[in-house]
């Protein structure tokens, strides 16, 4: 593999993408930065407010600060729980899929179905599905004696959002893991069988190491998506009951478009974006490291 040539003419080929994304990202970001350092007296008079909003945001004792901290914590715990369920479940299902044959194509399409459904329709499905009176899921749970009510019980609401996310996105983990498993040459399985390795030993010593790169990608994708979840909780619980399922995105939209507090909303947007940026950078460097090793 010869080394990639250095050639700045490549910028000509990248220019359209750069322009498009710049237009979609930079201009809006400028307005956000603009609002985040000003306050308004209403009717479009703005005055310099320095980093006041940021200080409030990051100071839990202030009203906005407490709200931001709660939403952040709620979102992080949601992301971690969702990941903790989806990744192992996804791997388990991927391992149980048939390795070859005609059945694989249709099965993969069916598994991928939930991800093709518009997010608001997913919300609608579960809004109905989780109602104790007209939904199978709700009826089943109440049938089991649990006092389950999505609109009143904070814990029920929160758990429902987790179940929705697991139902909606575990297929991503399954598909990627399955692709990673298929890339493992047959010889490794033969060798493992010849060495009388148990199913668990084969998994730990062959499949898991080979899935390392895929799992990094899965965790990155899933963590980012859960960290910015908006539509499903908005449709099913509207962020309620109270603020039980008011995740970061929902809270941000409430402040920005609901209360139209531009300053705090802008500051929150920036901090929110900064957090995703840092997490993204960590994953990006790990992924490029893994890629380089593949080429090395």
């Amino acid at each position: 593999m010869t080394e990639k040539p250095f050639n700045n003419r490549a910028w000509l080929m990248v220019a359209p993408v750069f322009a498009l994304v710049l237009f979609s990202a930079l201009l809006p970001m400028m307005t956000v930065v603009n609002y985040s350092v000003q306050d308004s007296l209403g009717q479009n008079q703005f005055f310099w407010n320095g980093d006041a909003w940021f200080r409030d945001l990051l100071n839990p004792s202030t009203e906005i600060g407490a709200r931001f901290a709660d939403a952040l914590l709620r979102n992080l715990s949601f992301s971690l729980v969702a990941l903790a369920i989806e990744v192992p479940l996804g791997i388990a299902v991927a391992l149980s899929l048939p390795r070859g044959g005609w059945a694989v194509g249709p099965v993969l399409v069916v598994i991928a179905l939930p991800m093709l459904i518009p997010w608001n329709v997913v919300g609608t499905i579960w809004q109905i599905f989780s109602r104790a009176d007209i939904g199978l899921f709700g009826a089943a749970l109440t049938g089991l004696g649990l006092h389950y009510n999505v609109t009143q019980e904070p814990i029920s609401a929160w758990c429902t959002i987790v179940v929705i996310d697991v139902w909606h996105w575990t297929p991503l983990v399954i598909l990627l893991t399955y692709a990673g498993l298929r890339a493992i040459p047959d010889a490794f399985y033969q060798a493992a069988r010849i060495d009388a390795a148990s199913r668990w030993a084969t998994f730990v010593n062959i499949e898991l190491p080979k899935l390392q790169k895929v799992l990094v990608i899965v965790v990155l994708l899933r963590f980012m998506q859960t960290f910015m979840i908006y539509t499903e909780p908005f449709v099913v619980t509207g962020g309620g009951p109270g603020s039980a399922t008011t995740f970061l995105s929902i809270d941000l939209v409430k402040i920005a478009l609901g209360q139209v507090d531009l300053g705090p909303a802008a500051a929150m947007s920036l901090v929110y974006n900064l957090i995703t940026l840092t997490l993204c950078w960590i994953f990006f460097t790990i992924m490029m490291q893994l890629d380089r090793r593949r080429y090395a």
Binding site: A112, W119, F129, A187, V218, T276, L277
Partner: protein, 291 residues
């Protein structure tokens, strides 16, 4: 996907495609587990279809898995109602525009990222990823102001361009994965044969990653089609997408559940049909070309 593998690569013994029994100890349990998961996955979708075939009264009164007297009434209503038809039309339009823009812009960029080093290439590639991962909520307000200011508010172009925020990066990353599949020697061979770059790119290179382009187009289509927040924020009346019409139907006519369910089922059809054609590369698409 190009199949020019160096001879030293693995030649898998040609024998019957082994079912998963090859993996010892994978007898009944995995099959059972897999069946349970599949049922759990399909239940909500079937429940939605079940709802769409029943009238509201029946839904509210009885909890039944099979509709007693199923009717396609709601589907006829949607498929003949001008606002719904307009909404689906608008959605398909901005999704198509966005897909075309994203893929055409991303193709040369993906090639450049894979084939050349250039100043800031790593950071640019990362910046695309960060935009892809950016929470749409953060951009809802700024986009609202921006497109309002440039007079594009409530048009299909607003949503199409707004979705470029994440669809162009998606297209670049997935295509870069497919470009990496084509050995660099083929580019050199074309140069040696005398191909100028544009002629090589169109006549030789694009056909080689044709299925990559197909998969990328599918994922741009799909991510734009499923997105709801920006689509509803940037539209008001004449460019209202189906998602907005669905959310409006909560408040106006009370909970018309069966109408909502029917609309939901209709939105699933485009994705389910198209994915069949790219089923061999679904994983590579979802993995942003990294698998």
């Amino acid at each position: 996907m190009v199949d020019v593998l160096p001879r030293a690569s693995v030649s898998v013994a040609r024998s019957r495609p082994r079912s998963f029994t090859l993996r010892r100890g994978s007898g009944l349990l995995p099959k059972l587990g897999f069946a349970v998961y599949l049922v759990a996955l399909m239940l909500p979708i079937c429940w939605l279809i079940n709802m769409s075939l029943r009238s509201n009264e029946e839904i509210m009164s009885t909890l039944a898995f099979w509709p007693h007297h199923p009717s396609l009434e709601k589907y006829y209503y949607i498929l003949n109602d001008p606002t719904w038809i307009h909404a689906f039309g608008v959605s398909l339009t901005y999704v198509a525009i966005n897909t075309v823009i994203s893929v055409t812009a991303a193709l040369p960029a993906a090639y450049a990222f894979n084939r050349y080093h250039f100043i800031g290439d790593k950071y640019l590639f990362f910046w695309l990823l960060s935009n892809l991962m950016a929470p749409a909520a953060v951009y809802a307000m700024p986009f609202f102001n921006l497109y309002y200011a440039i007079g594009l508010f409530d048009t299909v172009w607003a949503v199409a361009l707004a979705h470029c925020l994440f669809n162009v990066p998606v297209a670049v990353w997935i295509l870069e994965g497919f470009v990496a599949g084509v050995p660099r020697e083929i580019d050199e061979m074309a140069a040696i044969d005398g191909y100028s770059f544009p002629r090589f790119f169109i006549r030789i290179f694009v056909p080689l990653i044709a299925n990559g382009i197909g998969v990328t187009a599918f994922f741009c289509f799909m991510f734009s089609w499923v997105e709801q927040l920006l689509a509803t924020t940037l539209t008001a009346t004449d460019a209202l997408p189906f998602a907005a019409v669905m959310s409006r139907s909560y408040s106006v006519s009370g909970m018309d559940w069966s109408l909502l369910a029917a609309a939901g089922v209709l939105t699933m059809i485009p994705g389910a049909v198209v994915i069949w054609f790219v089923r061999n590369h679904i994983a590579k698409g979802f993995a942003l070309g990294r698998v």
